[in-house]
Amino acid sequence: MSELAWLDAALAGARPRAVGALLRYFGNLDLAEEAFQEASLRALRSWPRNGPPRDAAAWLILVGRNAGIDLTRRRAKETELPPEEALSDLEDAEAAMAERLDGADYRDDVLRLLFTCCHPELPATQQIALALRIVCGLTVPQIARAFLVGTAAMEQRITRAKARIAQAGLPFEAPGPVERAERLGVVAAMAYLVFNEGYSAGAATAGARAPLCLEAIRLARLLLRLFPAEPEIMGLAALMLLQHARSPARIDRNGEAVLLEAQDRSLWDRGQIAEGLAMLDKALRHARPGAYQVQAAIAALHARAGRAADTDWAGIDRLYASLERLQPSPVVTLNRAVAVAKLQGPAAALEMIEPLGGRLADYFHYHGARGAFLQQMGRAAEARTAFDRAIALATTPAEAAHIRLHLDSLASGAPAS
């Protein structure tokens, strides 16, 4: 690896902790970010010459703090400055500072930084963009590419999000245990949103969006380091790893999406599966089930099946039943129906999803699944109507293409899949 590459990796690894601490110090997202940029520039000059510091985050915080103070001084003399004793000499203070910043202090800093990005007044897309920019350190053009918008538009979106946060005020008091748990839940949901932005991308955009999945997994690992005993965070990490492990098999050579059942399982990433299964084992020990753990357990049953035919559909049915209790939603029931179709046949599955028709009337997957069940039952005309409806609702070319395959097989009288 080139020198620049390891520097980049070291800076990226230290970034959440460093920006989190600078945010606590300055109380201003823009200044914290600028101070971190400045510290990174100095690291690029100093680390190759002097070797990397023992604690990259502590180094960046100290240097960033001084740089931020300089910036403030230069800009506005009237801005109130932190007390002089806070401005310590780098050489003397590095070791002591590194010790003091360990563990618990970092934890609330990073959580605050993440929580700031998921301010409830921000729409989900802005939360994700902000987290990718500020926590993960992706550049605006990188984020713009992932969201398929222009750089200027994304720049504007992020600026607007920051302005809204500045107006709303930041949560600077140290959170109590209940509040900390609530914040952790909000942040976990944001990390999963980032993951899904990447994971749900169609074949055409998968390349541009793949980095989002990796960033989300890094966020989950970061949360795990801060909260090592939270089973739902373990579940979240497991869920992301087990789903992402399938990525190499999800798109074929022609750029078409490949359904789970048809995937070449030898392409699945064994390392990510091993890590995901390990995280799930750890989570289940706590016997405190939650929605992420159950979804991870479902993904684990798929991961453990050597062939699609070996899938433990009864186990998946049971897990979806738990998920329906933990997190009732027509979409969960729809997913459960797929397992029920495998176990009891399409008629039982169809009966299960018919009551959802009202709430899922505009949901692509509802009509796709309904069409497939009808097709399996030999009710071709009704199946065609359902598939036509699904195509009308498809949001990506891959979704539409998949339904067209069903329609083709109806037309040719081929066995239903």
Partner: protein, 135 residues
């Protein structure tokens, strides 16, 4: 004599590598391993999952199970090699070769002489040189 070469690095930094960087580093580390294997000096190699996957059992009157690694450190144990070396100098040379192959930057290789070694008969996971990786 057998030497353990323990690989330490910041897993946050290693976790920030791109797939290409990872493949590049692993390729170079495997080349070092291949050279040692030719001389019949390679012992077992292990690459560990991140410390987020770790669980710790603390000894006491009642063993206590804790999530996470046994100690919070700035650099984590990522994996290890066991290598047959004629001298400390030879073992240090292997560690230096690995350090160069892993591309500089942060981290360290700790060289520890092995007191006893039982190869055991557990099945290996992953192929010998193709998938066993140590950072």
């Amino acid at each position: 004599m057998l030497y353990a070469i323990l690989c330490y690095d910041s897993e946050e930094a290693v976790g920030a590598w791109t797939a290409e960087q990872e493949a590049e580093v692993m390729g170079r580390l495997l080349a070092v391993q291949a050279g040692l294997a030719e001389q019949g000096r390679m012992g077992p190699v292990a690459r560990l999952l991140p410390t987020t996957a770790a669980t710790t059992v603390r000894k006491g009157q009642e063993p206590l199970v804790l999530d996470g690694p046994f100690a919070e450190t700035k650099e984590q144990l990522l994996g290890f090699y066991l290598i047959d070396c004629a001298s400390l100098e030879a073992a240090l040379q292997v560690a230096k070769d690995l350090a160069v192959a892993s591309g500089g930057g942060t981290g360290a290789y700790e060289v520890r002489p092995v007191l006893t070694f039982q190869p055991g008969d557990a099945p290996s996971s992953g192929g010998p040189l193709s998938t066993d990786k140590a950072g």
